[in-house]
Symmetry: D2
Subunit: 357 residues, 4 copies
């Protein structure tokens, strides 16, 4: 069965409608780019960089609001301090492998020197998950050029999923994981807003995997589709980036980010100790232009945030599942193989657990 998105399999999770591409790029202005490195010499590399632009290049001087929540902080997200302090994000976000956070972080500085020279410094946001089971991570395979290529390639429209970008060599619920995305469209305060999620999913135990509540991981088991048993299943991570065009304040972005926990829980993530489960939410609905002494803002009232909360949870859930259904079986470093979630088995289990009406 060819790899597919979850909805292409006739499986829908949540109750809110997705956007046009069911992707983080449904939020107007958001762009995603990836660099994927797959090579077998001199050592076996399966890695990459995923870049997310909250706005077009005007982002350098027209910041968005952002907030971070760490559900389990055994990971890295640079740029944390300024987002916690003032909630402003004025540079693109990257996700890569654990050992390459630094080079990608400095590459964003270099991009700022190239494209935004009047600003003396930026505080880039770069997050990571570990891919050393399928990739020779300790060879430090990512270069600044790789990161800049992903940043320069960013575009709106459908987003590549599965074994791409920073998500290339992920393992999720002991199946092959990767990059996934989804979105939801909601009404709040009489206006229509979109919430999108992009995940780099590299966490979890098979027996905890659920799809729309159905215990898919337990049902599939490990007989037919072996688990990468020596892979550090409790040592993965998941990075969730949430985007919305709603006019949220920084403190409201923090609230939105916390809801990624809910979507993650629905799929079966409980934040194992070794996991870096770090979530960032940004909101493009306000503009804080460089040099502006006082910015005119709008704030969605707190009691109008509920649909956004549900959307954040649902988009996170489906983005993870899209990573699982899109990712293909991969063999890599040290002869390790991570098997893809078998889609026929998935569909079969879902049918067995959902009564016909």
């Amino acid at each position: 069965m060819a790899r597919a998105r979850l909805r292409d399999l006739g499986i829908a999770t949540g109750s809110l409608p997705p956007g046009r591409w069911n992707a983080i790029t449904d939020v107007p202005g958001v762009r995603v780019g990836t660099t994927t490195l797959i090579r077998d010499t001199p050592s076996i590399i399966r890695t990459g960089v995923t870049a997310i632009w909250p706005r077009g290049p005007e982002l350098w001087t027209d910041a968005v609001f952002a907030g971070i929540h760490s559900f389990n902080g055994n990971g890295e997200m640079t740029g944390w301090a300024w987002i916690a302090e003032q909630g402003l994000l004025a540079s693109p976000i990257c996700i890569t492998n654990t050992q390459s956070v630094g080079v990608v972080r400095d590459a964003v500085c270099a991009l700022s020197v190239r494209d935004n020279p009047s600003t003396p410094w930026v505080l880039p946001v770069v997050a990571e998950t570990f891919d050393g089971w399928l990739s020779d991570a300790t060879s430090f395979p990512v270069t600044a050029e790789h990161a800049i290529a992903a940043l320069d390639a960013a575009a709106t429209g459908p987003v590549a999923e599965g074994n791409v970008g920073g998500g290339t060599a992920m393992i999720c619920h002991e199946f092959k994981g990767g990059t996934g995305t989804a979105s939801r469209v909601v009404m709040a305060a009489g206006e229509q807003f979109t919430v999108g999620a992009l995940v780099q999913a590299n966490y979890g135990a098979r027996e905890l995997l659920r799809v729309d509540g159905v215990p898919v991981g337990r049902e599939i088991g490990t007989d037919v589709v072996p688990s990468p048993r020596d892979a550090p299943r409790e040592a993965g991570s998941i990075i969730v980036v949430l985007a919305t065009d709603a006019p949220l304040l920084p403190i409201q972005c923090q609230r939105l980010a916390r809801r990624a926990t809910t979507g993650l829980a629905w799929v079966g993530g409980i934040g194992f100790n070794g996991s870096g489960d770090i979530f960032l939410a940004f909101a493009t609905g306000n503009h804080m232009r460089q040099g502006e002494a006082i910015s005119a803002l709008r704030m969605l009232s707190p009691d109008n945030m509920n649909s956004l909360f549900q959307a954040a949870a649902e988009a996170t859930e489906e983005a993870i599942l899209n990573a699982l259904t899109a990712a293909e079986t991969m063999t890599g470093h040290a002869g390790h193989t991570a098997h893809a979630l078998p889609l026929d088995r998935l569909v079969d289990v879902m049918h067995r657990f959902r009564p016909s009406r």
Copy 2:
């Protein structure tokens, strides 16, 4: 069908075994007491106080470690500052209604004056959920004597659930909610530890209610069992108290508390804006005795915490479900009625969604 605990209905959630009473009191030394106020004159009162002692009365001078996580802070938990600062808890925890937090808080001070006079002050931990839809909350029905009665009545053994204590007039997923508890027994680092949860469950939308992943709320709907539609369904709260006898540090108690989010998500809580979803975890495995200049402690290594994390999520999930299955239909203030979760319907839905083998 008589009210029951979830497991009495043949429904088990999670995979870890519960303790003897499947209650927070399975953690050695933990005691629970309740005062329940149900009266119809001069106004209709449905409220109470739930008291939790992490240890026996030696708690006043032999503190436990504790940590707090606020998933959605539209609520109150006094004593927050000192637990965030140093992670020490040396007084019992109470849960009551929103308008009575103060009187209960000062009652714990009074109890300290009575039983622990050598300590000049304490910083009591009192949390709340709102019960004004079924109870005349603005009459401030709880007195210091009610609180002290709950504190003095605390005992080990089975814990009363449903319409008792602070949980008396709760509404949960638009059914009658209340007080619930559960526990899990795990092995970690070669030792056996217990994790217990007690919840005061007053939150949530019916269509989001899940039991072991099955969309019970959506299936039952509102035709036969009407929802309290004018009740502030997005304005509830849930307080979760987690207990363990594992030797955790304060920072590890914070980590445990965050896992209540996962259990809550499994049942269908997404942290509506109006909800005070505040979780406290305490660990009795270490002793910090008053006057001790240097305390000898043990710390469970972080990578041995995974079973505790799962236990915390599972105990929270089942404690909420026990609140729902134990609580009886209640009519109260202003003629309002909150209907109990119909157990026959619950069992029926579960059967339809779980394939026979």
Copy 3:
């Protein structure tokens, strides 16, 4: 020498100009009221309540933004969770003694029932410092009526300092402490803003007391003015409330609150373990009216906050010093006496340490 404000003694700290009353009430709309309890039967009581209204009574339905910083959390400030979550404050702030936090907290609920009945609940902010050395604190002397009297008495204009309100029995740097206030007027983004501070100062060691950098505490010593040596000098607290009319977001109020640490450090506070050094800042420059789905806001740009930061530090510093210079020697519970800072000695030391030009 009669008690005085610091500036009346010819001593000015900081470099920014104060407002008209050099008080928190210089921030337009801010009102302060106090109830002071001084009686000798049936037991010796020296306590009270200080109430601060960020706006007029429209506050109930027109919230201000707020943020909290705990420099050392051995204390209590109720209402923390919602301010941390969403940064909204829609009820008045009270400060009282440690044992009376609860009764004052519920009194604010009762006031809301009286004056704001359409809102089902509020989450009052009540903070405390311990006054049990000069007052029979364990008799729980404060009643709801005392709190409501302070709240109803709130007014603009000069603010009573020293032995008044919640600050009645304070001890600060081993002198008699109490309530103090100060303000600063600054320009930012081409507009004029005011920052005001009100403190309840009950902390500190004498040898660390500084006035404009001069080691006043060390110079005065304990020979002539004995220290209340058995008073819990390392067990005090300081509550700082900062107000501004600048258009700050919640996250910016958190930033402002952290600067109280700087002002406190300048006077000699280092956050002893037993001290509850908790700071709240609110900003009236924006309006979030109940029922408003989207609020139009303004945000002062971050790089225009520096003058506010300095103003917050300076106002905190001078407010503490005003508490010290205003407070009179007090004899209370158990025959204890706390001696006032001797103003003639203060002036003399300042002259010796400041070279004539």
Copy 4:
């Protein structure tokens, strides 16, 4: 007048005694190394790397406890998430310039691959301050080799101060700043402990500079010693690393880190908006060895922490002043010159403001 340490000038701040070297290396096991880059071609570079080892190389498998406080988070400290989560630090700390955080961060990963190959990944702690006014920062002058050289060169004993390591091109209170260190020895719980500080000081306004409370910055003014007026005086940063051998828990390290705010305030730092004022404290008094399922720990009781708090504030204060008195006038990038604090003027002002007895 030759550059000197503050105490060599006859000026002592604080009241606690320093350790043998009055340096962070007075804490047993702590080692410091620096790489300093000063060259004029192809562009003018004034930068470097400072490395701090909390223990010897056994650190990789014998972690220390740590805690972070961000007083003003306009900066970067990688590794934050894991320290916030679990408070464990198992790799050396580096400080460098803003644009080189990434390369130094990955260099620590590379060092772990070299020296600690059995551990699949580390989460390095690298912090920064901006040096682009005196150095061509956007040429990304630091390499992995530079970082590893600093790490390999780390030693106990006296620590180089002033224009060295990451502190090479700092500007502090509009004088030449840099690297500084100091320590204090205290008794707590009947044992002797040391608290050391190392700062990279690059912040502040001249008129706010104080030495032992004396307004040195205002007195020296800008007539004789011009200020680098176009340098971003409100855009600097200060990184403070605090070390102690006391047996503190992670939550207690957080408390210690917050006290750097007090020492900073005493010198005149108020956390300007553009400043990354981030403080990390670690405690070597406990051992958490890799593979250990349960660690035996000791905890200093909270009420025995006061002397450590004062020591942290005093060591931070003196470390900053040592940076100022050690740093020499530097001319660099774009013809910019930062003038050293004139020591003769400093001594003169101190004499004028301190009365003879």
